[in-house]
Symmetry: C2
C-alpha cells in the first residue's frame, strides 16, 4: 500500500513553502494595514469597489461581484451591508430576476476609491514589483496563473 505513506516535503521544498508562506502573509498584511490606515477599508473591500468601478454603470449582480472579487456569497453579503452603511455602494433590485440584487458604486464610493488608489498602488509597487527583476515578475505571473488555474478550475 503506497497510499498510506506520506511523501513528506524535502528540505528544499520545505524552504520554498515556508518562504512563500512568510512572503505572501507579510505582503497581504502590510498592504491591508496600509489600506486600513490610509483609507479606512480592508483590502477585501477595496477590491469590491475596484470591481464595481470597472463594471458598466458601476453595477454588478451580487454573484458576479463575488466571483470577480474572489469572495464567497456570504462574505460579500456581509461586506455589502457595511459598504452600504458607509454610503459607498447601494443595493437595487434586479429588473430581470426577482431573486437578484444589484450592487451599485455610489459617487461617494467612487471618491473613496479614487482617494485610496494612489497610496495602495504605490504600496503594491514598493512591496512587490520593486523587489523583483522583470524576469521574476514574468515568472510570478506564470506561476500564479498555473496555481489559479488548478485551484479555481477544479
Amino acid at each position: 500500500m503506497l497510499s498510506v505513506m506520506t511523501r513528506w516535503l524535502d528540505p528544499d521544498e520545505q524552504q520554498t513553502w515556508r518562504a512563500f508562506l512568510t512572503a505572501s502573509r507579510a505582503l497581504m498584511e502590510t498592504l491591508d494595514r496600509e489600506l486600513q490606515r490610509d483609507a479606512g477599508m480592508p483590502h477585501a473591500y477595496y477590491e469590491i469597489l475596484v470591481r464595481l468601478s470597472e463594471a458598466p454603470q458601476r453595477t454588478l449582480r451580487m454573484s458576479e461581484l463575488a466571483d470577480a472579487a474572489g469572495s464567497s456569497r456570504s462574505r460579500l453579503s456581509h461586506a455589502a451591508t457595511r459598504l452600504e452603511a458607509s454610503g459607498w455602494i447601494r443595493r437595487e433590485d434586479c429588473p430581470t430576476d426577482r431573486r437578484g440584487q444589484l450592487a451599485v458604486l455610489t459617487d461617494e464610493g467612487f471618491a473613496a476609491l479614487r482617494a485610496a488608489a494612489p497610496g495602495h498602488v504605490a504600496g503594491v509597487r514598493r512591496h512587490l514589483f520593486d523587489q523583483l527583476s522583470p524576469a521574476q515578475v514574468d515568472q510570478l505571473r506564470r506561476i500564479s496563473e498555473a496555481l489559479a488555474d488548478h485551484l479555481t478550475g477544479s
Copy 2:
C-alpha cells in the same frame, strides 16, 4: 512635482498582481478549509504546533513562538488561550524572566499534529508543488525570499 503623480500598474503588472492575488488567496483558503475539515484547526494554529514540535523540549517563549509562526503577540496570545483549552499546549512560567511565559506542546497536541500532518502535506503537494515545474519551484523560492527579505527586514 513628480511625487504627486501616481505611477499606475501597466496591463502586464495588473495581470500579474491579480493572478498573484487570486492564486495565493485560493491556495490559502483551500488549505485552511482542508485543515479545518480534517483536523479541526485553522492553518495558523497548525503552524504554531509545528514550530513548537521542532523546538527543544517542544517549548518556546511566547515571543519566539510568535516570531517563528509569523504571528503578532496578540494573535498568539489569543490562539494560545484556545490551544490550551483544547489541551494541545500548556503555559508555564519562564524560570529566568518573570515576565515570560513558555508555551509547551502537550502529548495530545503532538498527537493532533501527527494526525493532521499527512493530509496537510498532501494538500500542499497537490495544490502547489504538483502544479509547478522544478524550475518554477526554484523561481518561487527566490521570489518569496526576496519579498520576505524586504518585508520582514524593514
